[in-house]
Symmetry: C2
């Protein structure tokens, strides 16, 4: 850990006199330090005044750099407390796409059960999406999510190995209902953002059985690619749910 007061810029690549703005350069420098793990997710980075002094720039300039990283969701500011490295997505719940009626009132996290888990070779699409070499191994899982004991979502997950090795052996009955916080705790992987692609389809007989619906029942399919802080895709997920429970709101700006 170290608060070595090296005169920061010395070993650095030089401040930019051309091309990029100074705060852009500073943002890049800080981004690198964050991705290299110099500061742990959830912890604070040095105060603005310290950074400004160590880089030899004015306060306003370092603040502009930090603002960039905040808008990238790499940092969060807390007035009076400090500037913190993001701890990533919490639930990123699929529930935002569906409205399942519950006995209770408000949205709760569905219970989660792993139906199957096996190690296998990635197919071409998976390897491509995950940026893996041909013939790489992945962990493939099937997961059922339920509310009040009633199945509502069926998921297929693909995780790259060895990054998620820690999940290949542990008892799935002990797993959390939310995966992303568990990824971080168990594997040190922070999910920073994700991209969901929605489409419409119909359940196969097997899928119908899992969800207690008929074969051919209309369903909404959500194909998610989730990324870590370094923008690497580290999870593929396909989620199926009853189309008649689908309800999603999008803003147009």
């Amino acid at each position: 850990m170290s608060t070595e007061h090296q005169t920061a810029m010395t070993s650095q690549t030089e401040l930019p006199t051309r091309g990029q703005s100074r705060y852009g350069w500073l943002a890049a420098a800080l981004r690198t330090r964050i991705l290299q793990g110099e500061w742990v997710p959830g912890e604070s980075i040095p105060p603005e005044a310290v950074l400004a002094r160590s880089y030899g720039v004015a306060l306003g300039t370092i603040r502009q750099a930090l603002s960039l990283l905040v808008s990238e969701a790499l940092l969060e500011r807390r007035h009076g407390k400090g500037t913190f490295v993001t701890s990533g997505l919490g639930g990123a719940s699929m529930m935002r796409f569906f409205r399942f009626r519950q006995s209770g009132e408000l949205q709760t996290t569905p219970e989660s059960r792993i139906l199957s888990r096996k190690r296998r070779l990635a197919d071409l699409d998976e390897a491509d999406a995950l940026g893996l070499p041909a013939g790489a191994s992945v962990l493939a899982m099937e997961r059922l999510r339920s509310i009040d004991r009633k199945p509502c979502l069926l998921e297929y997950l693909i995780l790259p190995l060895p990054m998620f090795d820690a999940l290949t052996e542990s008892d799935t009955a002990d797993w959390d209902d939310l995966l992303y916080p568990m990824y971080q705790r168990v594997c040190g992987v922070v999910i920073h953002h994700a991209e969901d692609q929605l489409s419409f389809g119909q359940l196969t007989a097997t899928q119908g059985r899992r969800l207690q619906l008929d074969k051919g029942h209309p369903c909404v399919q959500v194909q998610r690619r989730a990324f870590d802080l370094a923008q690497r895709c580290v999870e593929l997920r396909t989620t199926l749910g009853d189309a008649f429970s689908f309800e999603y709101t999008a803003q147009v700006r």
Copy 2:
């Protein structure tokens, strides 16, 4: 502090010494002037230096106020040219929700045809959504959108009167394929943003006929509420399209 010689030249309401920040107050003042039409959408407001002098604040402060309005999409900055009042949404195309195969390659704007148009009283939901008094009049229309002569989207539109009076008489065959720019040109209404609510359903016999699909065919329904610069809801729209053509990408941050 504030040995400051405040006093913005005009009859403004006093600079805030309480509660709000200076730039927040300035943003509100400018927002009001924009909504009152002091500057026309698409035109530029006075330069930052002029605004700063006229309000008796530093450049950085006025810039912070302008940044707020930019983030609200009320203003757009253009380096070297000026700061402009937004001209609102252009297409806001429903095509972002659907993938219809076309003879050509790229996304073009579908041709548009008005199937019916009539003036009637708003029902309770409509009046509520549009902020109209009970018994107010609206313009109700049915609209079919096609690509390469093939119907793909069926829309039901509700517009408040007398705001859209200018659309009650003109020949619908002369209308543009994009409504929002026409709203602005013909009625002076700028569409600033919208909220789309997606759900799943099945076509009625009549809807199926319009879209050349079977009764009961799966469809995606988009219910849109569109707002003007003053955040008033000024259009209700329900769009139906083939569920098998549905494809939408959402970002999770």
